[in-house]
């Protein structure tokens, strides 16, 4: 009896393992991400069944054992993020060699040059209005690029497997701010990641911004790039991150009628509305308020008229007092 058990034990356990691995392999639930083509999801599942996990399992044909290995984090792709990202409709093999479909992956594939953003986005008239060439040039002049030229690529901030454009598509400014700032903070508030590129000690953003009044409100109301980039009219979102010493530090640059926020954060809402009505009536009625920038045009007119009436009244009264009492 015990010998039969021991005979079937191995294949039994093996099949349970295989079944459970298949089930757990993150088959997407039916109907999830409906705007992505089913065939894309099915094809990608071949890769994602391992690459969406921190541990992957395969049957070693040499040892005939099922083995479980760690997937390094750089090779992991989260389907939940990928299928809502900008690149969601791509097959993995659109950018990576088809040879990856074989497992184990051939060692030579490591030599395969990776596609870069500019391979698709550069020099294509579909993307002309975003002016990726200028973005690339600006980025080339930024501190990120100057200090870590080779290691720092677009991907550091715009992971092609998860990046989702926000500023042009979302109505909710707070969401844009939180999303964009989380990109900076993913290194600048995370020493492990920061030190992948540099031996510098990551300055604590909270203490280095000590001078900023109401820091919490600022951090949730504007993006880091508002003050830390050089804004030009050539690209939609400035990419030239300036050295620390050149960051905007004068309050009035934002807190004034001609606020730079109008050319950055509120650009997409306010393009045509930067008229005499200014900030107030243009962009952000409702969810934000910038002292010095939100001036109510009508209120201003009323207050000027009122003051003129008051002073005029006083002037007449003074005149009468002088004439009559003399």
């Amino acid at each position: 009896m015990s010998s039969i058990l021991s005979k079937i034990k191995k294949p039994f356990l093996l099949s349970i393992l295989i079944i459970s691995v298949l089930v757990a392999a993150g088959e997407l639930k039916d109907g999830q991400f409906p705007d992505v083509d089913e065939s894309v999801k099915i094809d990608n599942q071949e890769c994602l069944k391992c690459h969406s996990k921190s541990k992957y399992t395969f049957e070693n044909t040499m040892t005939e054992k099922v083995e479980r290995h760690r997937m390094c984090s750089e090779h992991q792709v989260n389907p939940e993020e990928y299928y809502v990202s900008n690149h969601k409709s791509f097959r993995c093999t659109d950018c990576h060699s088809e040879e990856y479909l074989n497992f184990p992956h051939s060692g030579e594939l490591r030599m395969e040059p990776k596609s870069t953003c500019m391979d698709c986005h550069g020099g294509d008239e579909n993307y002309a209005k975003f002016n990726f060439e200028e973005i690339d040039r600006e980025f080339g002049e930024s501190v990120h690029s100057n200090s870590f030229s080779e290691d720092f690529s677009c991907w550091m901030c715009h992971d092609p497997h998860s990046y989702k454009i926000n500023a042009r598509t979302t109505e909710n400014i707070k969401e844009i701010i939180a999303y964009d700032n989380s990109i900076c903070l993913s290194c600048h508030a995370n020493l492990d990641k920061y030190q992948l590129l540099t031996d510098n000690i990551n300055p604590n953003v909270v203490t280095s911004h000590d001078w900023l009044p109401n820091q919490k409100v600022h951090f949730s109301s504007v993006r880091c790039i508002e003050c830390h980039t050089e804004v030009t009219n050539d690209v939609l979102v400035a990419h030239k991150i300036r050295p620390k010493a050149q960051a905007v530090k004068k309050c009035v640059e934002c807190h004034s009628q001609n606020s730079i926020l109008m050319t950055t954060l509120y650009k997409f809402r306010a393009k045509e509305e930067r008229s005499k009505l200014g900030f107030f009536n243009g962009a952000i009625l409702g969810d934000t308020f910038v002292i010095g920038a939100n001036r109510n045009y009508y209120l201003n007119v009323i207050s000027i008229v009122f003051m003129m009436l008051a002073f005029g009244g006083i002037a007449i009264h003074v005149l009468l007092r002088i004439i009559i009492k003399k």
Binding site: K174, W211, P213, N214, K216, V217, K250, C251, V252, E253, H255, S256, Q257, N258, L285, G286, D287, T288, F289, I291, G292, N294, R295, N296, L299, S303, F306, M307, A310, F311, I314, H317, L320, R321, I324
Partner: protein, 205 residues
Amino acid sequence: MSGRIYLYPLIIRLWHGCNALLILTLIFTGASLQYSNLEYPLMRFDLAVSIHNVAGILLTLTYIWFIISNIYTKNVVHYYLHIKGLFNRITTQLIYYTWGMFTGKTSPFPITAENKFNPLQRFTYVLAMYVFLPVLILSGWGLLFPGIVIHNIFGLGGIFWADLLHVVMAFLVSAFLIIHVYFCTIGATFYINFKSMIDGWHVSK
């Protein structure tokens, strides 16, 4: 008929001096925040923010001082507004200021120890001290801690309304100040009322 009446107790005079200084500071710094301009700054923005905050907190204290000292000295009775006939009394006073005082009429509401404000004064002082200032102070505290008060109670848009209220009230107080100071020059002599606010004695013709 000229006379001297002791109308302004020391504690009220001291309050009034602090109050006036703080309000002037707040108006100046507040205006430089509201009309901030990169090329023509009235004053450095961050400095204006700090001074405005400190002066605002001090003004809260002097406001409490005003309330307590008014009750303590019973000066508060001069701030009771009797609605009945209020409009008529104010118009009578206004007619005196625009017509009567130039045609040799005597003041319709002569100043006495029991009745130290004329109806127009009484009305504007109540408005300034019991409407404008409390709203101004409360909205100011809200703006000082926007994350705590305004967001929690009124949502994100709240900060916009709080600021609007604050700015409107600040404007009304500024207007009050100008008119108030001007009316103070209409006394027995041009400057005698200012002297009253220093030594406490009111002088009438």
